[in-house]
Amino acid sequence: MTSSIYVPQTESDVRGPATGVVTTRLAKRRRPIPPVFVAVPMLIMLVFLFVGIFGQWISPYDYSVQNLSNRFAPPGSDGHLLGTDHLGRDILSGLIGGARITLVIGFVVLVFGVVLGVGIGVISGYVGGRFDAVMMRITDIWLAFPFLILAIALVAALGGGLDKLIIALVLVAWVVFARPIRGEAMSLREREYVLSARALGVSPTKIIVKHLLPNLLPSILVLSSLELGAIILMEASLSFLGLGVTGGEATWGGMLSDGRAYIGSSWWLATIPGIAIFALVMSVNVIGEWFRDVFDPRNSSRAQVSQEITLP
């Protein structure tokens, strides 16, 4: 009777551990995503990026102009590929404008979050001692707050507007980087090249910049690509709740929120922006997983468990 649990997968499984040496078998990694499956998300991302950058020129209509004579046109009507909303605004143009806002917010928050989080993490990990202890306590407290609620509270506290939103999201996002980077910095700190650099009297700043950061880059990349999806979702949620970018600009979350009232009659108002959000976040996540496969050679299951970054 064959066991459904244990099947020899690798050589070491069949031969057993090396004699005389205690070994632990690495958890078997899942097969990495075949490159063909990454091509599609990459394509989608490129399309979104293109739309985001050149949106103003390819947008068929100006989203801020209402056209009350042509409300609720279904997708496929004349001149409106994706239909119009309750104010007669073209949904496709709304998507394009929203793409720009979402991507801008996403990348700006990511960059600042990385700078802040990695900065704190690597300094904390390298210096250690009381600074590290204090920083980790602060991170713990920060993590105690539910992310979305913290973002909402920050937005309420700081007020509306694009810059305040970015600040709020950066303050929420940095913790995700600080902890893993600190852990890695602490393990890198004991490497021979770091020890010899210290022995030679190289200043800590130089060590951090020249030795630690380049070796942290793969992890930073992996974390960034996964966190980008979370940031986009947070921005969409905040816009949905009416706490994102205020003013008549198009946001995907805002379009969804508007469309919710008309779900009975005009399903496309709420469905289409949601598809856009989903497509973008899914692509970002798949690319992030692929990055993880490519860049993280120590990718045992344990690393997978602790590096999970998930989204509201």
């Binding site: 949905f240 969804l256 344990r302």
Partner: protein
């Protein structure tokens, strides 16, 4: 064991202390003096404003204000809602009950989905099922929860009117409030119609919450199971002829501690999802209350809601910590 619990509780209290400071500062940072807001309604003079300020304790130094805030909070006094003129704690307790009911239902759904999926994925690694499970959980993690809720409404309330679109219970039922948990209250009141109505309203939000939690939980559980699967004791059990079912039980028992602790730390994120779901399904919970209060600039309620939410998250983390200690006794001696 006692020492372990004591240490964890002490840590949690420390975090709670820090979080309360943050919540306190958050609201004090708000633009717009509450006194100005109130005074604007009644057109008060400068003296009246000064009186109001003194009455609200806003003229005292910040640390003193914080101390007052904490002492009052411990006694359960979180201030008065500006918009509704009722004590904040009253408004919050009702919301809390509704949110708890939704969260528990969501968690049940999540476990029901995630456990079998993760088991199949881990046991038949890299098979078709595993692939589908991985893709599925990535779907779940990438999908905006509010959009999923709206799509469910579209499908199951509009296109095929099976479920009601929102609210917590049919409006014709008046169930006396005992435990603030609507479904328990319905059972206590002995009204099967109310219970059924409550369940009908609960299904869609619980499914939405459950699937997004399940996506996260499946990945965690699968990773833990994979790690456990390759350990020697599994071979040992198999070699002794222990049946598959019992071996799976052993594996689960070993995979749970890591899963529980990581899941506990992600619970905060889930709470955010609950908030959005409450808004989509008009579920009168804490999240909906918070959003309303922010819109209405009702700062005492905002402060109270954020504080309560934070307490819940800290509590959940503490429970997850303790559960890990119980499931994996080695953890108790770690620190």
């Amino acid at each position: 064991m006692i020492g372990f619990i004591g240490r964890r509780v002490a840590q949690a209290l420390l975090v709670l202390f820090g979080a309360s400071i943050m919540v306190f500062l958050l609201v004090r940072v708000l633009p717009g003096d509450p006194v100005d807001l109130l005074a604007a309604e009644e057109g008060a003079t400068a003296e009246q404003r000064a009186l109001l300020r003194a009455e609200m304790g806003l003229d005292q130094p910040l640390p003193l204000q914080y101390a007052t805030f904490i002492l009052q909070a411990i006694r359960g006094d979180l201030g008065i809602s500006i918009t509704q003129r009722i004590p904040v704690s009253t408004a919050l307790v009702e919301g809390l009950g509704a949110t708890l009911q939704l969260t528990i239902a969501g968690m049940i759904v999540a476990v029901l989905i995630a456990l079998p999926l993760a088991l199949v994925s881990a046991l038949k690694q890299n098979s078709v099922w595993d692939r589908m499970g991985t893709v599925g959980s990535m779907f779940g993690v990438s999908m905006p929860t509010f959009w999923q809720g709206i799509m469910l409404i579209l499908l199951l309330c509009v296109a095929f009117p099976i479920f009601p679109t929102g609210g917590i219970m049919g409006s014709s039922y008046n169930v006396p409030v005992v435990t603030y948990l609507p479904i328990v209250d319905s059972i206590i009141a002995g009204s099967p119609d109310a219970v059924w109505s409550n369940i009908r309203h609960l299904v869609l939000p619980a499914i939405t919450l459950g699937t997004s939690a399940a996506a996260m939980l499946t990945r965690l559980l699968r990773a833990s199971l994979l790690e456990v699967k390759n350990q020697d004791f599994v071979d040992a059990l198999r070699a002794r002829g222990i049946s598959d079912g019992k071996v799976i039980t052993h594996m689960l028992r070993n995979a749970l501690p890591t899963t529980v602790i990581v899941f506990g730390s992600k619970l905060g994120t889930l709470l955010g999802g609950t908030l959005v779901i409450e808004v989509v399904f008009s579920w009168p919970g804490l999240g909906a209350l918070l959003v309303q209060a922010i819109g209405a600039r009702d700062y005492p309620v905002v402060q109270g809601a954020v504080l309560v939410a934070t307490i819940m998250v800290i509590l959940c983390n503490l429970l997850a910590d303790l559960a890990q200690g119980w499931l994996d006794p080695r953890v108790q001696y770690a620190k």
